[in-house]
Symmetry: C2
Subunit: 239 residues, 2 copies
């Protein structure tokens, strides 16, 4: 029995090692540098053993993507509960995404591989499903807040607009700005000194534009953000 679990643990540990080494390689040397031969060598096993754990190279990358998405999803879940007021909860989600990119840059960087159709196309349906699950989960964290807001009377949708379409706008600006910020290091040499703050202000405009109460000026909004940030950091054990 002790021996049985020893082998099990060895295999489990190796899987973790594979992911860890792969993550390090991806982050430090890029996708091209991730080779199954080198990975096996670094792991100290034969290449064939890798294929007992993962069907192909892309599956390893997507396993890492899933880990990353899970971290994001958990942060979203916490952020959605950080306040009673619907507008603050909405802002907290944006903040959570910001903190995710800043404090879990390694996960965010790897998360981007999900857009690579070459990689996504080689994965098992089961993994695809898991990825969709995390995405849906994040999406519904946000749309629940919007639905609560409607129920409470903080928000009423314009005609012909669904909750999901409302959320889509926030998703777009958050996703877009974070990808741009991450990919383009020379952004501040272009007049963009504080992209994070700029996006928060745009978000404030959108919330006001849809008449999400209580309406706020940019200044008031920044104060609320400041309060949320300290509360969230406690929950996320940052700093």
């Amino acid at each position: 029995m002790a021996k049985a679990s020893r082998k099990q643990l060895e295999i489990q540990q190796r899987e973790a090692d594979i992911l860890q080494i792969s993550r390090r390689t991806l982050l430090e040397e890029g996708y091209e540098a991730l080779s199954m031969d080198k990975l096996a060598a670094e792991l100290g096993t034969a290449k064939g053993t890798l294929y007992n754990h993962f069907d192909n190279k892309e599956e390893i990358v997507l396993a890492l993507v899933c880990q990353a998405m899970q971290v994001r999803q958990q942060m979203f879940g916490i952020a959605a509960m950080v306040s009673q007021k619907t507008r603050e909860r909405m802002m907290a989600i944006g903040l959570a995404s910001e903190l995710y990119v800043q404090h879990h840059a390694e996960h965010f960087a790897i998360e981007q591989f999900v857009s690579n159709s070459t990689i996504r196309g080689k994965s098992k349906p089961e993994r695809q499903e898991l990825i969709r699950h995390f995405e849906t989960q994040c999406m519904s964290s946000v749309s629940s807040i919007a639905r609560d807001a409607i129920a409470v009377g903080d928000l009423s949708l314009p005609p012909q607009l669904t909750v999901e379409e409302l959320v889509f706008g926030f998703w777009s600006i958050t996703f877009g700005s974070h990808v741009l910020t991450f990919d383009r290091p020379a952004l501040n040499e272009l007049g963009i000194n504080d992209a994070w703050r700029a996006v928060r202000m745009h978000g404030c405009s959108i919330l006001n534009g849809f008449n999400w109460k209580p309406l706020m000026t940019f200044e008031e909004s920044e104060e609320v953000f400041a309060g949320l940030v300290t509360r969230l950091k406690v929950h996320f054990s940052f700093d």
Copy 2:
């Protein structure tokens, strides 16, 4: 002389053929299917000849990216001139981007390879420069409008926000939503029926939020968009 130019033209024509075949392959069969051997075979030349035109495979892809970005840049330039009113010009840029994705999907799809660091990393500095040029050009098409708006009195920036940071927000939401719309075909099965309209509404909120005059309701905004769309389509020779 006639013969000299005949050879020149042959080479020039071949370069166009390489790009054309590569584009078709990328769009129809994906990045994996683009192989130098197959490309040479399809072109009817030896593989070595390809390398007289492009240093490596990635350079071919990035040449296509540049073609795509040029089309976008030209559309932005035209859109920026479609009206006298600064707010309408701003809306026209968003619309141009929308029309670009819809009517030049083949270019938009290929444009996304610019985010692939594997590909971007293998290109010549000169090509990187060209890409940055197109990007800057698009950016400045937009920031010029914002500067005009400030000069005319249609807009006054909040303290601590640069023109570029203002533009960054629009860039983010447009880029983000278009990438999401393009990559996730199942978006409408998720409650998002008209992502385009949703994003236009968000844009309207942002413009209002920054007090960009004349302020508009969503309904008024949609009417203006309708007018702009017909004018732009004429300029772009669509429909």
